[in-house]
Symmetry: C2
Subunit: 294 residues, 2 copies
Amino acid sequence: MKRVGFVGIGTMGLHMSRNLMKAGYELSIFNRTAEKMQPLVEEGAMPCASPAEVGQQSELVFTCVSDVPDVEEVTLGERGVARGIAPGGIIVDCSTSSPALARRMAEELKPRGIGVLDAPVSGGPEGARTGELSIMVGGEEEVFLRAKPVLEAIGKTILLIGPPGSGQLTKAINQIVGALHLEAVAEGIVLAKKAGIDPEKVIQALGGGAAQSWLLKMRGPQMLRGDFTPARFALGLHAKDLRLAMEAARQYGAKLELAEKVNEIFQALDQEGLGALDHSIMYLHAKRLNQLNS
Amino acid sequence: MKRVGFVGIGTMGLHMSRNLMKAGYELSIFNRTAEKMQPLVEEGAMPCASPAEVGQQSELVFTCVSDVPDVEEVTLGERGVARGIAPGGIIVDCSTSSPALARRMAEELKPRGIGVLDAPVSGGPEGARTGELSIMVGGEEEVFLRAKPVLEAIGKTILLIGPPGSGQLTKAINQIVGALHLEAVAEGIVLAKKAGIDPEKVIQALGGGAAQSWLLKMRGPQMLRGDFTPARFALGLHAKDLRLAMEAARQYGAKLELAEKVNEIFQALDQEGLGALDHSIMYLHAKRLNQLNS
């Protein structure tokens, strides 16, 4: 495979596209806001007028957009990738979307010889930049094996979890576990501040022991600095992911006591209009509850 | 400093003592259950009849016992380390104990020229064995600097957080953050099982992304295998630590919403008689709530 496409050049898409070009793939791209394509075009990517055109130019197309209706539009829609890509082609959806849509995409496109993988990623812009994302894949093994060499250009941990939808379910779990880790860090900082000990040193000490986590290390210092812009990962997106995750949980009859609580915290802050800030702003809830000024 | 003592040869103490001997210190030891000293004695440690005797033989004595009254007994008690150690000596308490006792020990022994550090550790038996513990220290800087070369034999992240008691407060935060990380993993596993995807692969995928944590990696697979004996860290001890932590939180007026919930889970399982099992057994709560059989 040589010709690869990328639809959705946000923070993640930009880094992932660069790593694909670095790995030698000829890249065709599309983004709704055309200006965002400019840096990649200057680096050699071919801009297209629609996702369908990206499909025409490519053997494998990544889609990486913000919400479920966008995923449907850029893949199955009137000007979607599926309208352009030839039989034998593969669509790899890296968006965080719904398991149900992932299953429907795979079913609808299979008869036309188009492979579909739901392949949401984790690792933040940091992991996207270094090409060390975790890619959690749902789909058929045959399609996965054909796509894997391309996935290796953007990720480090690349796992086929199971049939279509499994990638999205795994990402849902990832977002729940991540949100709870963030709340753990927020409550830890609150206690440090209330007790009058240096929260920065506390984060450093915890980072060397059994309570260490990626979010403690990466987002804990951001909470302390009040460093919420630009968003590494927007609160609004994490809130959307949690909404999807809790929908999936309800659908499968899973009772997740603490996840429900942390979901409420995210939804309330998002509804308050803080969605564009970094998700570490979720610390604001614990901070207010404890009447902390900094 | 050459002559070092160790009081409390449990799982952690055994590994830490070995690393001290490997680093060339002459080690005197005491343990209430004498047989537990045997392996170390065979490796060259000198067994003592009381903590006071360990104090007589040593310039610096570690204490590493299970609960607050034990800490008081082995340090300040009638046969405690402080009765034997000479002025200029240092007591390093690695137990997870109360900030208040840590402050009292430092105050009481300072006039006698004995330095005291509260220096609880994190990193589990795994970190104790490899000498890569995180050591969170409260105490005076002058005492810390004299003790640091010895601490380097057992830990990797060694931080003076602040005055006496700060180490214990940091450990309290560590135990809260850790318990919430465990609950995050438990709820993640529940959703994976309910949705019918492979929880082992989910843990692996999460471990490569932003939701990764030490407890996800080390305790997630244990939850799945039902591997709770022998305890790497006993549920009963984690429950005790959480009780102390929530006491400190109340004392400082910190409201920790999710920490309170997870504390309830730990206390209920401990009261049920599961305290001797590994703390990853806390998964049982989420499992029962979701009527999962495995």
